[in-house]
Subunit: 334 residues, 2 copies
C-alpha cells in the first residue's frame, strides 16, 4: 500500500467531509459522485462520516413502472417541506423524470420544490453493475443523512430483487400500486407485498380503484404480520392532485412513532446494516476469488464443459479448492 | 464424508439417470424436483447427465407481466410440434397460468398440447432464494435436454436481473413486448433491449402497435449490434390467435442457423457455462464464509455500527481478514 497516496486520500476525505458536515451542497454532490465510483476514496469518506449518520428518517418508495412513484415522491416532498422538514431525494429509477433533471415532468408545478434550498435531489444511474448500484444508493443515503437532512427518500423503479434491496434498506418502505393493469395482483402473487410498511393505491380516481383497494386490504389482513406487530394499511391517493398525500405523510409519522417506541427501529436498522456488511464482504472477496489464476482455471475448464468431459459442479469444486489453497498460501497474502 | 451415504447416493443417481435417458417422464419430473432441492443428491445426478446435454435448442422467453408470454409460449409450442419436434417448457413465472397446472387459461384450446406426449411442462416456484431459482432453472433445462427433447423453452416473468439471468442462458432469447403501457419504452430505457436476440410485439392488433413497432425498430438499428453480427428484429404477433407465431418460429430457426454457422454458438454456450460455474463457486463458498464464526463476528459488530463506533467498511474488512485466516487454518479444512 502506498502510504503517501493513502495519507493524501485521508486529507482529501477530511476536507470534503468537513465541508459536507458544514452544509455545503457542492460537497454533498461531490461526495455522492465519489460513492458512485466506489473504491478506497469512497471508503475513506464514508468511514469519516459514518458516526454522523442515523439521524435522518429514511423512506423507500418502490413499485411497478408507471405507478406514479415520482409524482407521489414530489407531492410527499412538498408535504414534508410544509412542516419545515428538509428532504433529500435519491432517485434510482431509469424511467423517472428525476433522472432528466426535473422532479416531475411538469416543471412549473414543481418549481416550488426544485428551487427550494431545503430540498436536495440526486439521480443515480442504473446502468452497470446492479449490485454496485444497491451499495451506492445506500452510501448516497448515508451522505444525505450526514449532511443533516431530516428525511431521505430513495425512489426505485420495478419490483426486482435489487429494487427491493434498495427500498428495503429504508426505515419506512412505501409500495405504490395502481388499480389498472393488475399490477397489484401480480405484486401480491410475487410475494412482494410483505416487504412494504405502507401501501399507496395511486390514481385511485380511476375505474376499479375501489375493488383494488378491497382486494389489497383483504390480502394485508390475511398476510404475515409485520415485525413488532405493525398493521400494514393501504392508502388511496391521486398524487397528481396531491390528494391523499397528507394521509400518507401522517402514516409515515405514525410508523416512525411505532418503530421508535417499540424498539423495533434498532432491530431493523441493525438488520439493514448487517445485510450491507455482508454485501461489502462479498464485494471485497470477489476480486480475490476471480483473480488471474481462477479466471484462467475457469476459462480453460469451459472447453471441457462444452465437450461433456467435465461437469459444471466438478469445475466449481476444483476452483473452490484452488481458492482455498491460494488464500492459505503466504505468497498471495499481500 | 460418509462413504456409505455417498455410494447410496451415486447408486440412486445412476438408476434415476438411466430411467431419464430411457425416456421415462416420471423420472424427469423426479429429477427436476431433486434439482430444485439442490445439495449433493442433485449434484450426483447432474454430474452423471452433463455429457448428455447440449443437443436441445434452448429458447428463453421473457418480458414484463401481462405481455402474453405464456400465450405466446403455448402458440410457439404448437408451431414446433407441427414440425414434429418435441418440446419441454420450464415456466419460472409467478403470474403464469402454467404454474396453475394449465398451459393457458383456456384449457380447451390447449388440450392438444397438454395431452401431447411430445410436450413436457414444468413450473418452478419463485419463492425463496432468487439466486437458487436461477440455478435450479438452468439445471432443469439441462435435465429436459438430457431427456432428449428437441427444444427447451424457459419462460420467466419480469425484467429484473434474475429473470434476465435465466432468459439469457438460452441459445435464443425472446423479449415479448406490448404496444400499450409504454412497457417497450421502459424496456428500451432500462437497457434491457440488448439482451434479446428476437423481439415480439404481442397484441399487435391494438392501438399504437404500428408506432411501437417503428419505435423499437429504430432503437434496434441504433443499438449495439449483437455478437457475431446478428441483426435483431421485432416481429408483430397476436399470440391468442397464433398470428405471427410461424414467423417467430422461422426467426428462431434462422437465429439457430446463424449461431451454428458463424461458430458463435460455442462461444455463447461457453460464456453461459462460465457464468454458471461462477455462480456455483460463489454458492459453495457462501456457507464457508458465513459460518458460525463470521456470523457471530457480524452480529456482534452490528451494535458498534448502530452507535457509530465502527463503520460498515471496517467491519467488512475485519470479517474478510477473519475468513482468510480461517480458510488458511488447517483446523477448518475438513
Amino acid at each position: 500500500m502506498n502510504t503517501a497516496a493513502s495519507s493524501l486520500r485521508d486529507a482529501s476525505a477530511a476536507v470534503l467531509a468537513g465541508r459536507l458536515l458544514g452544509g455545503d451542497r457542492g460537497a454533498l454532490a461531490h461526495a455522492i459522485t465519489r460513492a458512485e465510483h466506489g473504491g478506497e476514496c469512497a471508503i475513506a469518506l464514508l468511514e469519516r462520516l459514518h458516526a454522523h449518520t442515523g439521524r435522518a428518517w429514511r423512506i423507500g418508495v418502490t413499485g411497478p413502472p408507471g405507478a406514479g412513484k415520482s409524482t407521489l415522491t414530489g407531492a410527499l416532498v412538498r408535504e414534508l417541506r410544509a412542516a419545515s422538514a428538509t428532504v433529500g431525494v435519491i432517485a434510482v429509477d431509469p424511467t423517472s423524470p428525476f433522472t432528466h433533471g426535473a422532479i416531475l415532468g411538469d416543471r412549473v408545478r414543481m418549481s416550488g420544490v426544485s428551487n427550494d434550498s431545503g430540498v436536495y435531489i440526486r439521480s443515480m444511474a442504473t446502468r452497470g453493475a446492479v449490485g454496485g448500484l444497491s451499495r451506492a444508493a445506500g452510501d448516497a443515503a448515508d451522505l444525505v443523512d450526514a449532511a443533516g437532512f431530516d428525511y431521505v427518500v430513495v425512489e426505485t423503479a420495478g419490483v426486482g430483487q435489487t429494487e427491493l434491496d434498495i427500498a428495503d434498506a429504508a426505515d419506512t418502505t412505501l409500495l405504490v400500486l395502481v388499480p389498472e393493469g393488475g399490477d397489484f395482483v401480480q405484486a401480491l402473487k410475487a410475494g412482494i407485498m410483505e416487504i412494504a410498511d405502507l401501501y399507496v393505491l395511486n390514481k385511485s380516481d380511476r375505474p376499479g380503484a375501489h375493488e383494488a383497494l378491497l382486494a389489497v386490504r383483504s390480502m394485508l389482513i390475511a398476510g404475515h404480520p409485520a415485525g413488532g406487530g405493525w398493521r400494514r394499511e393501504i392508502h388511496p391517493a391521486v398524487a397528481t392532485e396531491s390528494r391523499g398525500v397528507a394521509e400518507v405523510a401522517a402514516a409515515i409519522a405514525s410508523h416512525r412513532r411505532f418503530l421508535t417506541e417499540s424498539g423495533e427501529l434498532a432491530r431493523r436498522r441493525g438488520a439493514h446494516l448487517a445485510r450491507r456488511v455482508r454485501r461489502l464482504v462479498e464485494g471485497m472477496l470477489e476480486p480475490q476469488l476471480w483473480d488471474e489464476v481462477r479466471t484462467r482455471e475457469l476459462n480453460s475448464g469451459v472447453d471441457d464443459l462444452l465437450h461433456g468431459r467435465l461437469s459444471p459442479h466438478r469445475l466449481a469444486e476444483r476452483i473452490v479448492a484452488s481458492f482455498r489453497a491460494g488464500v492459505a498460501a503466504p505468497a498471495t497474502r499481500r
